[in-house]
């Protein structure tokens, strides 16, 4: 399984459970930058596999950042591109996820998933006038890759199809909200803020890749 991180969420519960969510920003960044041991079942919410699937997106840095970067990138290109990309990523995530669920491969693609959000972050920061088809194509590509891994992880974690549906729903909702925000911010000086977000995402990608390929790793 690919590397991912665990973040404390929720409230303090009894044994073996998540801790309080008083995360210092530094601890958060450290957690983001240090890929942990492969672990399919990242969060057991206790609410069932659907909610586990939702939580999975929010504690898996490459998935979260790729969705954010893609939605921001598409949003900057206007609502038509955002709509197309949204549709592409949701369908591709679903198809990829289903394939991953069926085949359940034990793969480690950390470099690829990190590279995908690094690339999107860089494109977002550069704010290049990409053709609509290219943005939508990128959406489909990252949707297939990340969806495939999500499906494989859902299978390995035993949360199966329902867990995959949960993560797909989370992707759809998050991408919709972020795309709409980016469309609203695309005009004027606020566009710079979106580009800055892209540069941060790219920077996190560079740091993660550096960590992955450090000497002796």
């Amino acid at each position: 399984m690919r590397a991912a991180l665990r973040l404390p969420v929720g409230i303090t519960r009894a044994r073996g459970e998540v801790a309080t969510s008083r995360l210092a920003p530094a601890a958060f960044l450290t957690a983001l930058l240090v890929p942990g041991r492969a672990d399919a079942h990242l969060v057991n919410t206790g609410f069932g596999p659907f909610y586990d699937g939702i939580s999975h997106l929010f504690v898996t840095a490459p998935d979260l950042l790729v969705v954010a970067a893609l939605a921001l990138l598409a949003g900057l290109r206007g609502h038509a591109t955002a709509r197309g990309t949204l549709l592409a990523v949701i369908i591709a995530w679903g198809l990829g996820g289903f394939a991953g669920l069926l085949t359940a491969p034990a793969v480690v693609w950390t470099a690829i998933t990190t590279g995908s959000f690094l690339l999107l972050g860089a494109l977002l920061a550069a704010d290049r006038e990409l053709p609509v088809g290219v943005v939508i194509g990128l959406g489909a590509l990252v949707g297939l890759i990340h969806g495939f891994l999500n499906g494989a992880e859902s299978a390995a974690a035993g949360i199966g199809f329902v867990g995959l549906v949960g993560s797909l729903a989370a992707v759809a909702v998050l991408a919709t909200l972020i795309s709409a925000a980016a469309v609203s911010l695309a005009e004027g000086s606020t566009r710079v803020a979106v580009r800055v977000a892209g540069s941060w995402i790219a920077a996190i990608g560079i740091l993660m890749l550096g960590w992955l390929f450090r000497p002796g790793a």
Binding site: I11, F47, H79, A172, V173, T176, L177, A180, V183
Partner: protein
């Protein structure tokens, strides 16, 4: 004219945001609506090494859930288990003897790992402060007084409330129905506030033991409240009006009183000292409100996002949420009435 078009567009966007919200949050638990009441285990040390046990087991589909506390092997029951129905659960009492005491001992709720139910465990030792733990399917064991396994006290009720609303699909579906009916932000505010005030009143009344509603007819009535909203949603689509459409807050308040009794089922205060009940009630209610607010804000945020992205949906997709509310309300009403009649 432009205002009407904008209003219609907003209504459609809200409708579709509810499609997403329905799919995202509700669908997986449709079949288990209202079967997620928490259990409660109280251990009160009467003399050193001897405990009075109170075990309230929730019901599922009208039957006692297969949950039982597992104590250290050296512990043994010194009296037979007395059992009686209690609201939406079964109350069991017996006495337990543990020669070495329970401090540092492990207590597991057997069978909990196969459910989505939580159990509140309260332990009163003779020479220590009371301990309260919340255990669930992912963590069915507590080590009494262990470091790193903090006793939560009444704070556990905050989580219970949040969990109860998020998994209580019938309550959320009612809120969804209201959102489909309301026409403007001011009415939305009034309506959500009225529902909140009303269910807070009856939640408090039921928790403090001043009044109660029998579970079976209450559940059927809650289902009826959801079914009631179905035709009203259709009227909104057709551009018609009714008392509910003009004054949705009144309906929200009236039915909110019913839903409050339903929320009370998630708050088991049996065995809690009287002094702790108000705080538990407050925190549980805050948890419910937080979950409800999160749900409403999510829908509103999605509504706005659909408008910004100019997403247009096919007619059938726009109508789906209304039919989902009406159909599920009808299904639950028939199912619960059938159970009420002993079917």
């Amino acid at each position: 004219m432009a205002g009407q078009v904008a209003a219609r567009h907003r209504a459609r966007a809200r409708t579709l945001s509810i499609v997403i919200a329905l799919g995202a949050l509700l669908a997986p638990v449709v079949a288990t609506a209202h079967e997620l009441d928490p259990g409660f285990l109280e251990l009160r040390e009467t003399t050193p090494g001897e405990y009075s046990v109170l075990w309230k087991v929730p019901l599922k589909a009208g039957r006692r859930m297969s949950l039982d506390p597992v104590f250290p092997t050296e512990c043994s029951a010194t009296t037979p288990v007395s059992s009686r129905p209690s609201g939406r659960g079964v109350m069991e009492r017996w006495r337990l003897e543990c020669p070495s005491g329970l401090a540092g001992a492990s207590i597991t709720i057997g069978g909990l790992e196969r459910t989505y139910t939580d159990v509140m465990i309260r332990i009163e030792l003779t020479e220590a402060e009371p301990l309260t733990y919340l255990v669930g399917s992912t963590n069915p064991t507590v080590v009494v007084g262990a470091e790193g396994q903090a006793s939560q006290g009444a704070l556990g009720y905050l989580w219970l409330g949040f969990e109860h609303i998020l998994l209580g699909i019938d309550h959320l579906l009612f809120v969804l129905g209201l959102l489909l009916i309301v026409q403007n932000p001011w009415t939305l505010l009034n309506t959500v506030t009225a529902f909140t005030v009303a269910h807070s009143i009856t939640l408090a009344i039921a928790t403090l033991g001043w009044a109660s509603a029998p579970a079976a007819p209450l559940n059927a009535a809650i289902a009826l409240s959801i079914l009631f909203l179905g035709p009203e949603i259709v009227r909104v689509w057709r551009g018609e009006t009714s008392f509910t459409i003009r004054h949705p807050w009144v309906v929200a308040f009236a039915f909110g009183l019913l839903h409050g009794f339903g929320f009370a089922s998630g708050l088991s205060t049996v065995g809690l000292p009287q002094a702790e009940i108000p705080l538990a009630l407050l925190l549980f209610n805050l948890g419910v409100e937080a979950g409800q607010l999160f749900f409403v804000l999510l829908i509103l945020a999605l509504e706005r996002a659909f408008r910004v992205l100019e997403i247009h949906w096919p007619r059938w997709a726009e109508m789906f949420p209304g039919y989902a509310v009406g159909s599920l309300g009808a299904f639950w009403f028939i199912q619960r009435t059938w159970m009420l009649l002993g079917g």
